[in-house]
């Protein structure tokens, strides 16, 4: 795994207005650098531009200003070095679970035996054994997102971009998925060590539990309003949520975010 730093410098995004409507400023100049192997959570109220920022890093959207570089090279489009799990369900409905997970490997032209081996590993890792030959429509929401995570991981990206991947799941499933994600990220046997993760969420617990650093975004137009390191040691399991340190971090972030949510509500009204 290469040791490349992700740098976001002065990135802005303005969406042109429809017809006579005024253009929407979704993202104010935003700068951020993420070291290899870091787990960064981006926390912010709905509509503050979290998805927009992540899509720009993925290369699926172009910034109106500023630049994104990876190891000094500008990001000009999407690529397999930045894997993504989307807010919506995006498994290919015509492929089985196993074929979905192999998709990126097949695009890379890996021999089929090798594709199957890698897929089997991630099927086991995400607890999808027994569902290899199911169609996505036969899976629950939680299983679909696990499969999407396996599909992104199997491709061995340098950076993992996760856009509220567990947003549509119930509370219990969500907590299990968070633990699963940390386990995979923190796997001491993983070749190349920890991946760089950018995790978007509007759930404070989720951000503190997962990340080594939490960025709080302001209400629209979004900008990074505060940066809070999370000094809790890895490996973490659910019991960390009951510690006073966790509670203190949560209280601090809650104060920040409540203010923004109220501002967002006022602006939207």
């Amino acid at each position: 795994m290469s040791e490349r730093e992700l740098r976001i410098e002065g990135v802005t995004r303005t969406f042109p207005g429809q017809g006579r409507a005024a253009p929407t400023l979704a993202l104010q100049p935003t700068s951020l650098s993420v070291a290899p192997g870091e787990f960064v959570a981006i926390l912010g109220p709905s509509g503050c531009g979290k998805s927009t920022l992540l899509r720009i890093v993925a290369g699926l959207d172009r910034p109106s200003g500023g630049s994104v570089t990876l190891g000094g090279l500008p990001v000009t489009g999407p690529g397999p070095d930045r894997g993504m799990v989307f807010q919506s369900y995006t498994l290919f409905p015509w492929l089985t679970v196993e074929q979905n997970i192999r998709y990126g490997l097949r695009e890379r032209g890996l021999p089929e035996a090798q594709q199957r081996g890698i897929a089997a590993r991630f099927i086991a890792r995400t607890g999808l054994r027994g569902f290899e030959n199911h169609w996505p429509r036969q899976l629950s929401g939680g299983m679909q997102q696990r499969c999407a995570l396996a599909r992104a991981l199997a491709n061995d990206p340098e950076i993992l971009l996760l856009d509220e991947p567990f947003g549509a799941l119930d509370h219990q499933t969500r907590e299990l998925m968070q633990e699963l994600l940390l386990e995979i990220w923190d796997d001491p046997e993983a070749a190349g060590g920890r991946k760089t993760v950018l995790f978007v969420t509007h759930d404070i617990d989720e951000a503190v539990f997962l990340a080594s650093r939490v960025l709080v975004m302001s209400a629209r137009p979004g900008r990074i309003k505060a940066e809070v390191p999370v000094p809790l040691p890895y490996p973490r399991d659910w019991t960390v949520k009951t510690t006073p340190e966790f509670g203190a971090l949560k209280a601090r972030l809650m104060a920040d975010i409540r203010e923004e949510v109220r501002r967002a509500a006022d602006a939207g009204a």
């Binding site: 397999p80 993504m84 409905p93 015509w94 998709y103 990126g104 429509r137 971009l161």
Partner: protein, 257 residues
Amino acid sequence: MQPLKPVSPGARLVLGTGFFGVFIAFWGLMTWSGLVPPLFLASPSKTLLAGWSLLTEYGFAGDIAVTVWRVFGGFAIAAALGVPLGLMMGAFKGVEAFFEPFISFARYLPASAFIPLLILWAGVGEAQKLAVIFIGSFFQVVIMVALVAGATRPDLVEAAYTLGSRSTGILRRVIIPAAAPQIAETLRLVLGWAWTYVIVAELIGASSGIGHMIMDSQRLLDTGQMIFGIVVIGLIGLATDVLFKALNRWLFPWAAL
């Protein structure tokens, strides 16, 4: 009855064949009672008898075969050229901008209006029959396939990009498989329309085929034969439709059509 609640397959079959029964009973009532004179409408039994003599004495099976081959031949050519063009138009907006206005214009040209011209160009042989069906089907296939391909979910395309796909990968491994079930449905629809064009083509300047037989029977005022010909078209249409549907379900189990 509840809105949108599905019925069991058994009930479907009973209900579906039931209306055929009602229809034939009504037809029989009108004709056997003498309410409608045989000159205008043959009774169900007369129609069956006329059909029997058509098949045994006049070689009607040959006419059916000729018509079926014309429909499938013209349709196959239209699909073989129309599906790729439609896919390219749906996937690449420049290609669409180039062809779309002309094809939107061409699809409103009535295929039957071309028959006199086509007779002039191609005579009254098979080429002219195939050309009528081709003109009637091709532009519809192109427009509908382009629409289906262009409506591919953009989030699936984006997911494929983040997994390393490039343009050809997106087209071949996202747009085409995503659109395939609806393309098959489109072809099923257009095949149904092709049947109406073939009969029109055979009514004018043909020496064989179901349409030609219907034309001949009119000269003899044999309503039984005419109706039998029409019913045969309907039955073949129904059979291909059922087969096409079954094929689609078998080819695309993931779509649960």
